[in-house]
């Protein structure tokens, strides 16, 4: 086979040397004009902390304090799911700060990749809601914690108020299982959200998830839902766009999707299902080999600041761990986002995720992926 020859097509690039030099010249001009920003980035790279986080958290708005103190933004590395992140770090990827959620916390801690956080080095720690600190498996002893809580929220249904007829006038998870809307429902792809919703729908208590019976029951529910789903995706934009266009009438999303859609004027609501929504808390952890430990604390402090919190609530619709962040918002607005000034209300009204073992995670993910693929 003469692939070699075939690719010789490119050799036909009959550029003369002179022409090439001239081309380079113009390219050079373009290059010097473009990267004014890029050069600033180069300057900032130096010894800044590296924050390994969910896509969307790598924005300057969250790091006002950090920037004021260190003159630049931290470095960002982005993941799409916390499993992916843990896998990467287990593969030897070293960062300063990362961003797990409560149900994964014990497994993250068990990996031995993280060091306890000393709260005395955090200036906003006193304002952090104790309920969020006091998570299962978060106590590192000696007054230290593994994870500093940062954001919290719910996984629930964002639905088009004009297109969805509520069953019995009540918001319920049944919407996502309603054959009436076959092909017009969406779901997050991660088992970390969807499987738990399946448990709620199937009526399996979270403390009994680890049984074969639970697996069977939830799997049956998920298989029932699968033909109704237009697409499973971790990419919230897709769900938001589909909701905005009417391609989907309802989807399993996080708070931020509903907040964004509403700000764009799309008639949606973020449901408070009668069965209860799924509630989660995410936070930040410090890698055991963090090369910039001081700056790592700066990152955390910046994330816990009121300014950051207000941005999170206002623009993303997520809860924040600093109770002062809520002061400037009224209760009604918060309630629309599925939030409250008293997070414990929300946390208790919903189903709070309970950490599971690594084997459970793998088994769940494997099964859920098979179900999504149609088996």
């Amino acid at each position: 086979m003469d692939i070699l020859d075939q690719l010789g097509a490119v050799r036909e690039g009959k550029l003369s040397r002179r022409r090439f030099t001239q081309g380079l010249l113009s390219a050079g001009v373009a290059m010097t004009m473009v990267p004014a920003g890029a050069r600033r980035v180069m300057a900032s790279e130096g010894d800044q902390a590296t924050y390994f986080t969910w896509g969307g958290y790598d924005i300057p708005e969250l790091f006002g304090e950090y920037q004021a103190k260190n003159g630049a933004l931290p470095n960002f590395s982005v993941f799409g799911g916390s499993e992916e992140a843990l896998t990467k770090m287990r593969g030897g990827f070293v960062v300063d700060v990362s961003h797990p959620c409560n149900q994964a916390l014990p497994r993250w801690v068990a990996s031995g990749l993280f060091q306890p956080i000393d709260p005395s080095r955090l200036s906003h720690w006193a304002d952090v809601m104790p309920e969020l600190i006091d998570l299962q498996g978060n106590d590192a002893g000696e007054g230290k914690v593994w994870m500093a809580p940062f954001d919290w929220g719910q996984s629930s249904i964002t639905y088009r108020t004009d297109l969805v007829e509520l069953p019995n006038g009540e918001e319920s998870w049944d919407i996502l299982w309603d054959p009436k809307y076959a092909g017009r429902l969406g779901s997050l792809a991660a088992g970390a959200d969807a499987w738990w919703i399946g448990a709620i729908k199937a009526g399996v208590p979270f403390d009994q998830l680890d049984t074969d019976e639970a697996f069977e029951k939830i799997a049956a529910v998920m298989r029932e839902q699968r033909p109704l789903i237009r697409t499973y995706t971790d990419d919230t934009t897709t769900l938001e766009q589909a909701l905005a266009s009417g391609e989907m009438v309802a989807a399993l999303t996080w708070n931020s999707s509903a907040a964004l859609l509403r700000s764009e004027g799309v008639p949606v609501a973020f449901a408070k299902p009668k069965e209860g929504a799924l509630t989660w808390v995410c936070g930040v952890v410090i890698h055991k080999d963090a090369p910039n430990i001081d700056r790592a604390y700066d990152v955390i402090d910046s994330l816990l600041s009121v300014e950051t919190g207000q941005f999170m609530i206002n623009d993303y619709g997520y809860g924040h761990s600093n109770r002062k962040s809520f002061d400037s918002f009224d209760e009604e607005m918060l309630s629309g986002l599925g939030l409250s000034k008293n997070p414990i209300e929300v946390l208790q009204a919903g189903h709070f995720q309970i950490p599971q073992s690594q084997d459970w995670e793998t088994r769940m993910n494997e099964l859920f992926e098979q179900i999504k693929a149609g088996f």
């Binding site: 009959k14 001239q22 470095n75 590395s77 799409g80 030897g92 934009t237 623009d315």
Partner: protein, 270 residues
Amino acid sequence: MSDGTYIKRPNRPLQVYAVIFLIVLYVPVLFIPLFSFNDSIYVRFPLEGWTLKWYGELWQREPVWNALWNSVRVGVVVAVISTILGVIAARAITRYRMPGKSALVTFIMMPLVIPGIIFGVALLVLLSRMGIPLTLYTVGLGHLIVCLPFAVATLLPRFEGFDPSMEEASADLGENGWWTFWRVTFPMVFPGVVASLLLTFTISFDEFIMAFFLTGTDPTLPMYIWGQLRFPQEFPSVLALSSLILFVSFILVFLAQWIGRIGLDETKKS
């Protein structure tokens, strides 16, 4: 048509097909600049209104520039290294009698016919077993492996079509090996080198699958775009940046064509 020969005479259906083909090829691509002017963070019809704000915002999005800069750095380094290695390899393959040459060539060409995901995971496993942290260097290594076969494939025909007696003539006229290479061999294979640089840079610049597995803290542009696909607030800026890249590459290509045309006319006149 008076100057059409029988074989080459114009074929109307084929012309129509070619035009349709180009339209289908371009329409999806042209949606990118179109939506970069759309006054909504959601990409959908009808357009909400025209705006330039995403371009303005782009200026303040350091991560975007950071990612672009990473991609450019990786691309340039990968293009240069793979082309240099390609030149050396192509010269060795064409110039010397080596037992097992065809097996060697097949080996070098292997990445062309192996799905990128397999390379990605294989390298990830290797690097993680060796405890090597993921950085732009690991991305570069991955891209190098993807790009090398393209470089060799582009350069081989150049070297094959190159008469070795030219080098002998240069040696006969008293140049040593090094200067012979610079004064004779390199200019002769120069178009291949340019093609190889362009091709490998383009491949590296847009490579996603390997980068997905091998990226550390510094995302390349495709990795960054992947991250932004889920977050609509940033997405229009990405569209704006891509439109700029598209625009600049159009300009460069046509500039090259235009300059080439002028050069051609000049040579014709003289």
